[in-house]
């Protein structure tokens, strides 16, 4: 048995703070009257802000990585930056959710508390340094998500989406666990550091077991990301879930999933680089192809964005697979996923804002002539769609550019050409939305409908849309942060 070393508790203060606040808010919420429910919301949001500030101080305080809690926890730049992104994106997701769930009689107290639990799960994922904590973090992240989808009880579609997500998620977790058990069987360790050391000394014939373990673990990760061939749940869940939950699922958890992918593939399995590179090449090509091509055929904008998210995950994986041969592969992938989730959250937020009590405005036709109904929202949607398509000067252009540069540097020129081809196919359906908004008349059924949003939501969506532009004009700061975090 290993000698026990007292953990450095101070590095885990953000987790402890969020955990304590989640429990306190849970108790406060019980004693609140229905009309004072806003207190829960304010408490949750201030928890996120304070956790953000605490994590920000850690960024300067701990310049070198710290592994503690007996090798279960790591605090490095990747963990800190991932957490900062998670807090920011979740903060926005909760602002957008407030009115949306109020209109649909979704229990608002529990909604935000479950959201906070999910944020805690993502924090655990970001700092996980053993397969045990990776698994627990993943579960703590997804369990509240299943619940948040099912909370809209009057909608059959969202109950179905929740059930589908739950069953498929359980299957993926089973695959992941089976892979981890094989890896444990062959190395006798579940810590990232231990596995990476033991794998370098492993005998030749044990390589095969490791490759099989890798296949199962990758299947689990790819499911969580939602890439081909484990993408079947994405469109159904994104469409069926309440839009406020869709925007949450499509944003923050993807960054946390990126962090654990980096830990598992890059830090734990550098010896199997060739194997996982081959798998990722196939997965990313199929994802970009299926995502972009299927998205064209959709008439529902939530479903269209779901397929587009599959394609974007494909691009992110390109960065990871270029990483071993290129100095900027990992940072390009991180920049890509970080900016994608900002843009995706904004796009789903606009759907949530436009939908009102009676109807969900999630058909593509509902966006015809949005410019005449609300020019500012239409302009925000334009920025977000341009960014997804990769049109300069929005941030999506620089994200794609960085990836292509990394691919060329890693001598995957053919892959870069394919990525570019799929990006051009993808541009069609993003620009179609822009065309509908600006060059067509609104449908008669929605032309008169008022678009109402609170000043807070207006501010949030404006910040979100402008961020897609500003980050595109001045991307260097964020790129540098990503580069430092994965160095």
């Amino acid at each position: 048995m290993n000698q026990f070393i007292m953990p450095i508790f101070s590095v885990a203060i953000p987790e402890m703070f969020v955990l304590s606040m989640a429990c306190i808010i849970l108790l406060v919420d019980v004693f609140l009257k229905e009309r004072h429910r806003i207190v829960t919301y304010i408490l949750v949001q201030s928890t996120l802000v304070i956790a953000f500030l605490i994590t920000l101080t850690q960024y300067r305080e701990y310049p070198s990585p710290i592994v503690t809690f007996s090798g279960n926890y790591v605090l490095d730049k990747l963990a800190v930056l991932t957490k900062l992104f998670v807090f920011t994106v979740s903060f926005f997701a909760f602002i957008y959710a407030r009115n949306y769930i109020k209109d649909r009689n979704i229990a608002s107290g529990e909604y935000f508390i479950m959201g906070l639990f999910a944020v805690l799960g993502m924090q655990v994922m970001a700092s996980a340094y053993s397969f045990l904590t990776i698994f627990l973090g993943l579960e703590l992240n997804t369990l509240p998500l299943y619940t948040m989808i099912a909370m809209w009880k009057t909608s059959r579609a969202s109950t179905e989406a929740s059930m589908k997500y739950f069953v498929m998620g359980a299957l993926a977790t089973g695959l992941l666990l089976y892979g981890i058990s094989l890896l444990y069987g062959v190395t006798g360790s579940i810590e990232i550091l231990g596995i990476s050391n033991l794998m370098q000394q492993a005998m030749n014939q044990q390589q095969l077991v490791m490759v099989l373990a890798l296949v199962f673990i990758l299947a689990g990760i790819i499911f969580k990301f939602g890439a081909v061939p484990f993408h079947m749940w994405v469109p159904d869940v994104y469409q069926g879930a309440p839009t406020s939950v869709t925007l949450f699922i499509s944003s923050a958890p993807k960054i946390a999933a990126f962090a654990i992918t980096m830990r598992i593939l890059v830090e734990a399995m550098p010896t199997l680089t060739v194997s996982w590179q081959q798998v990722l090449i196939a997965v990313s090509i199929l994802s970009m192809f299926a995502g972009n091509v299927m998205a064209i055929a959709q008439t529902n904008i939530k479903r269209m964005l779901a397929y587009s998210s599959i394609a974007h995950i494909g691009y992110t994986l390109l960065g990871i697979l270029a990483g071993p041969h290129s100095s900027q592969g990992y940072s390009a992938a991180m920049f890509y996923i970080a900016t994608y989730v900002i843009v995706a959250a904004g796009a789903f937020a606009i759907i949530a804002i436009l939908s009102n009590k009676e109807i969900e405005l999630d058909k593509l036709d509902d966006y015809r002539g949005l410019n005449t109904r609300n020019p500012w929202l239409a302009f925000m949607m334009l920025l977000l769609m341009f960014s997804m398509a990769g049109v300069p000067p929005t941030v999506g252009f620089f994200a794609k550019l960085g990836l292509l540069e990394a691919l060329v540097e890693a001598h995957f020129v053919w892959l870069a050409a394919l990525a570019l081809l799929f990006a051009i196919i993808g541009a069609y359906y993003y620009l179609r939305v822009v065309m509908y908004m600006y060059f067509e008349e609104p449908k008669s059924s929605v032309a008169g409908a008022k678009i109402s949003m609170s000043p807070g939501v207006l501010a949030a969506i404006s910040v979100n849309g402008i961020a897609a532009l500003i980050l595109g004009l001045l991307p260097s700061g964020l790129i540098d942060m990503c580069r430092i975090s994965v160095a």
Binding site: M1, N2, F4, P7, A12, L19, C23, L26, F69, S70, N72, Y73, N105, A107, E110, I113, M114, F117, L120, V124, S130, L132, T133, L136, G137, E139, L140, L143, P144, Y146, T147, A150, M151, K153, T154, L182, G185, V186, G188, M203, Q205, Q206, L208, V209, L212, V215
Partner: protein, 202 residues
């Protein structure tokens, strides 16, 4: 081949057969009972591996509490069995293919040539006063304190999730409100309309 080997094979085969029967059994109550049987068999395997505490917990918690509750749920729901058989033949080829790949890979990779005594040394025999439970207790609150806390949080989340999904009723549920029924007045439902009587025409 020692007695331990024989015991191991009995328990493992029982676990596998029970596992298959969980999926194949036509009656869902039978499925649950086979799952209970599978848990018992696995507990037997764990005891052979010197994990007595975990084996007992498996029997006490899973068989004693979780599965009993599960059985109640399955019996109360009175599941319709017909839809389960639907599409069985249509999906069988895909299922068989996936099963074949997964089992084939596992058989190819997991075997004595990779997990034999040359790769994995024989664990040192335990002393007579060795206690698996004490060992477990000493690591769970030290080396594994952090995962232990996270697991606790996971259970809390599950409880909150279950309560919030079942306790808060949807607003449009069709349920009788006794207070409202008692407070009903005649005027709410009966409207007296004055219709002038007409004369007989014939």
């Amino acid at each position: 081949m020692t007695e331990l080997h024989i015991l191991f094979y009995i328990f493992s085969i029982a676990a596998i057969v029970a596992g298959v029967m969980v999926v194949v059994a036509k009656n869902s109550v039978h499925s649950v009972l086979f799952l209970v049987f599978a848990f018992f068999a696995m507990a037997g395997v764990w005891i052979l591996l010197n994990a007595e505490f975990l084996a007992l917990i498996l029997v006490l918690v899973y068989v004693g509490a979780v599965m009993t509750l599960f059985l109640f749920v399955v019996m109360m729901l009175n599941l319709d069995l017909e839809p389960r058989k639907e599409g069985f033949v249509r999906l069988l080829p895909f299922a068989a293919l996936i099963l074949f790949i997964v089992i084939g890979l596992t058989v190819m990779v997991v075997g004595p040539e990779r997990f034999g005594l040359t790769q994995v040394p024989v664990p040192a025999p335990h002393l007579a006063n060795y206690s698996n439970t004490a060992d477990l207790g000493s690591v769970i609150y030290t080396n594994y304190a952090y995962p232990f806390e996270v697991a606790g949080m996971l259970l809390l989340t599950a409880i909150v999730a279950a309560i919030c999904l079942t306790h808060r009723p949807p607003k449009n549920r069709k349920v009788q409100d006794v207070a409202k029924q008692v407070a009903v007045k005649r005027d709410d439902y009966v409207q007296l309309v004055n219709i002038p009587s007409e004369k007989k025409t014939t």
